[in-house]
């Protein structure tokens, strides 16, 4: 179960992002609706966990939704993944998960270069 949003306006904002996600052609994999937990929790600001599949130029990828919405895209190789990660206006945090120790080593050794080159933004995986 996911906890409630902090306010009605936050819940409405999240729902408006789900709406624009669908309009932009993202594929809704799970969730996408307000959640009614019933009983005394009915009417609470609850949101279903939501997952979209799309591409990084979509607004649901580029903007901070501040809700239980995850946007997924795919990449063909390490370099494309890093390009996608760097293609953001708001670099806050980034991370790499890999089954390959070589990939992790490479990331560890090169990520500082990326930060200093881009003056900050690293993208968010």
């Amino acid at each position: 179960m996911i906890g409630a949003q902090s306010s009605n306006d936050q819940l409405e904002k999240i729902l408006s992002y789900i709406d624009i996600g669908k309009q932009e052609g993202a594929k809704l994999l799970i969730g996408g609706e307000r959640s009614d937990l019933g009983g005394e929790l009915s009417g609470g600001f609850y949101m279903q966990p939501t997952v979209f599949e799309g591409n990084n130029s979509m607004r649901i990828f580029q903007e901070e939704i501040f809700g239980s919405v995850l946007s997924l895209t795919s990449f063909k190789d390490y370099d494309e993944a890093i390009d996608i990660a760097n293609d953001t206006l708001y670099g806050l945090g980034a991370g790499v998960w890999s089954r390959s120790a070589d990939t992790l080593d490479h990331y560890q050794q090169t990520k500082n270069l990326l930060v200093s080159y881009a003056e900050g933004p690293m993208g968010f995986f």
Binding site: S7, Q10, S16, Q23, R59, L89
Partner: protein
């Protein structure tokens, strides 16, 4: 002008009329990042300083009010340029920098994709799906 990039709902217009009696001329800047991110911020003209990094999307005309300019950062606009925006208003938590917040309401953007006619009118090329 046949097409507008930004419009307002009746309820939002009503709030803007109410706010202007206290604050005078108003403007909007669309916030994009963290904090009150992804929300239209309403300020009295002069409180929020726009720059050459911002784009004027629309001058909104509401009867009885001075024109209300709606701004967004140019870099953010690159991702928003295919969407039409409608400023709506919903019950809010009463917190934040936008001036309607103490009223217990919050402006909210409802978006839709531009129609083909609008895309042409605004001089855009159609997005090619990947």
């Amino acid at each position: 002008m046949p097409y507008a990039r930004v419009e307002v709902t009746g309820d939002a217009a009503e709030m803007l009329r109410h706010l202007s009696t206290t604050y005078g001329r108003l403007m909007f800047h669309q916030s994009g990042g963290c904090c009150d991110g992804s929300s239209p911020m309403c300020f009295p003209v002069g409180m929020f300083i726009t720059s050459s990094a911002d784009i004027l999307l629309q001058t909104i005309e509401i009867e009885g009010l001075d024109p209300i300019e709606f701004y967004m950062s140019a870099s953010q606009f690159e991702y928003w340029k295919y969407t039409h925006l409608t400023i709506d208003i919903v019950p809010g938590r009463g917190s934040g920098f936008s001036i309607e917040a103490p009223e217990g309401k919050r402006f909210l953007i409802r978006s839709r994709m531009l129609t083909d006619e609008e895309i042409e009118y605004f001089g855009l090329f159609k997005k090619v799906p990947l």
